[in-house]
Assembly symmetry: C2
Amino acid sequence: MNVRTLCLGILSFSDMTGYDIRKMASEGHFSHFCEASYGSIYPALSQLTGEGLVTCLHETEPGKPPRKIYSITSEGRATLVQLLNNDEPGPDRCKSEFLFYSLFADQLPASQFRALLVKKISEISDKIDGLREAMAHCEHEPSHFAIGYGVALNEAVLNYLTTHLEKLDRPASQKDKPAENQLLELEDEQ
Amino acid sequence: MNVRTLCLGILSFSDMTGYDIRKMASEGHFSHFCEASYGSIYPALSQLTGEGLVTCLHETEPGKPPRKIYSITSEGRATLVQLLNNDEPGPDRCKSEFLFYSLFADQLPASQFRALLVKKISEISDKIDGLREAMAHCEHEPSHFAIGYGVALNEAVLNYLTTHLEKLDRPASQKDKPAENQLLELEDEQ
DNA sequence: TACGTCATGTAAGTCGTTACATGATTGG
DNA sequence: CCAATCATGTAACGACTTACATGACGTA
């Protein structure tokens, strides 16, 4: 899935500027499974225009920065479907510096890892909120599925991280308490 | 987290060959958050050796292919901790061609997406089994945490995908059946 | 005997990021 | 008025992947 295909795919949903595409991929509700920067999107868009897979409308409204609105052509749509049919999707690949970092949590100041966990938890909470919001307004079934995937995944991670944080915070002396008591305490905290 | 740091990190656990490192990162129980190929690992290892951050032992047992066993030096350990302290981990980045593909599920033969789901489900099941296995034998707390993260995440995804597959398979006529009946049918299938 | 696994390495090339350059508008 | 956001683009650079080259051992 290179940037060309990504642009084609996103434009198949609606007309957009390069700026919009970047936002969708890197910050929007598709950002949990793709990414692209301006430096790759703009060249890809010119290339696709040259090939007739998208068209470009120069919009120069006075009082607004000029924008280029790209639309996918029927040829572009055909190419997209062809690309998807030709080769099946490669394996998912994730890079988490956070998890790599966590591997050495015992060799670093304890407060540092704790702070990192807290930060991560808050980031993920925000992400989930955004995805839920998007899902509520989304009619398109496949997009709904893809966003729901992100929600499910991030909720599991959030839960895992939160549980781990509680473990870190619970003093060692409480470790041997009966499970029931621990449960009660957790409920009190919420 | 470049390949240099990755090698340093993995070697901080135990001595290894480049071949082993690649396996750990790309197939082993760290593969859900990092990745590296031979083409980047071998050069990184020579570079690190040149800098004195790792040492290399040529092992040439007759009847076995010669191997180079790398060990991290105390200097290497210090550098690793320094790297981790200096800059905090960047954001996690995931690329899922599967999810991108799923966005266009309605524009492709229905059987094709179904087959893809089934395949993905089986891959994830295997992955979870492997991670669980690794976790059972793992004493090192931080590794345990990182692997547990992978288990939690993949179980959520597995569950999401399985539920979705069942939805696809349930004929439209059954959609309005009482929930209890659907549950019974599902249990019968297993 | 042929294939899979162990094992190392290089060279060419792809792909994409980072950083820079530019400039208008909007909101606090 | 200053910062953030909207908006487009390029050039240099870097990191990594792919494909190739090589070879020995074990096993079905």
